[in-house]
Amino acid sequence: MPFGQTSTGVTHCFALRLEDPGWSHWRPGQFVMVRHPSFGLELIWGRAFSISRLVSSGLSLFIQAQGRGSERLSAANPGDKVTVWGPLGNGFAIQDKRTLMLAGGVGIAPFLAYAENHPTPHKLELIFGHRLPLETYPFDNAKTLVPEMTVSSFHERSPEDLPVFLEMVDEAIMNHATSGLVLACGPTPFLRAVKQMAAKHGAMAQLSLENKMGCGVGACLGCVIKDTKGENVQVCSKGPVFWSHKIEL
């Protein structure tokens, strides 16, 4: 089932499609903050989601329901008015180089827009590691949107599978080390592993972080990480995409 509402019981993923906000300047890897009216006064913060696709027919977000806000968004009805602000933060570098995209779970979301907007898509390779069944994610969509790119996936059925996946990632990073670019989005432990492997092989890598956001615009200082100078920087406005050698994770 491509990129649709899929329920797996425990957590489920769904696509939220919104009207075209008419943004002329945005870059794949940027995100939006979203609130549904049902948040009311109870849920204070908007929720951050990567721009999954942005075309004239609308803005698509790909969301994994995992808590109070994403559950409420999953229960939204067609025609509901949500509050969205963006595009926020900075996006992934787009370079005319062999580019490896590493997606962990719902971290696949920004790579749809990335692949679709790349000038040399035949240089792209996507590796997708996932725990939920493959059809839960917009993976088919990636393949059909950009047929020129190379794609592969890995289903992590139990924790014992993880080292195998990481080995596959390690090898792919090594192959991109000399003149390529590595991009990663996914859970923090995954990004940490990618950061270490990139350092080991001397690969240029960018990571998209998912810290909790209060404001999304750089004002509350609640989402910070340390850069390698030891300074706290806001993930929402200085990121969410960082060069991996410039941050501590």
Partner: protein, 311 residues
Amino acid sequence: MASKTPTISDPRVSLPGLDLKNPIMTASGTFGYGLEYASFGKLEDLGAIVVKGLSLKPRAGNTMPRIAETPCGMLNAIGLQNIGVERFLEEKLPALPHDTTPVIANLYACDAAEFGELAAALAADERMGALEVNVSCPNVAAGGQAFGQDPKQAAAVTRAVKDAAGDKPVMVKLSPNVADITTVAKAVADAGADMLTCINTLLGMAVDLKTRRPRLANVVGGLSGPAIKPVALRCVWQVCQAVDIPVIGVGGISNATDVLEFILAGAHAVQIGTANFMRPDTVFSIVNELPILMNGYGVMTLDDLRGTLET
């Protein structure tokens, strides 16, 4: 031609040393240095901009995680991360519309002398509109209690800032984490504060049963947002009964109705904090809605409404 009686409500408000086009200020720490929100509305439309708490030297703040969402509120233990007074004056202040909207610095230091030094540095800049003193620093000398909880120390800090501030108005921001907020309010007013800001955050805590750990690295943090509005309103009302200087109300205000409620309880002006996170254009939309709501209630000026609560 017969002149028409004006029917448009006037939200202007006059404070010691400050004439504001409306009573809507931003609350320190929730609006960055102002520029973060410049794309969501016109900064010039705001009554005043209160910026993130400043210290003499830059501060890194507390370790992560330092924010947590709670029902109708949030906890923060940012730990006053800021770029320091020097960089603020050089990099941020020039970009703010200080000539049309007063910019108010929020000051944070750990002893009276340092407060004085900081106040002097800020007051020397003619672009500064006023100083707001945050007395929530836990003072180690006094056994880890915040200045704001001890009337004598709060008064000493107020005097130090007043002495250094020249003709800049000084407001002191009170903590609700005390048995009787009016005792501190009176001590600070007697020490020369021009205005009081009520309230700072309430001490709170959140835990995670799954990880069996506190949700904040600092364990405890400051609670803000709609959840604290009743406490803030009570504090504003009590303090307005106790002192003669203007009170700026803050705590859980998220719309124009909330604003008028605080004015009714006695506040001269208000600050909007956590509600800015709920929607980044909140403070601007409140500015727009306020005169319309005043009109709806037949309130021509805020002076007409202020403190008219019947109890």
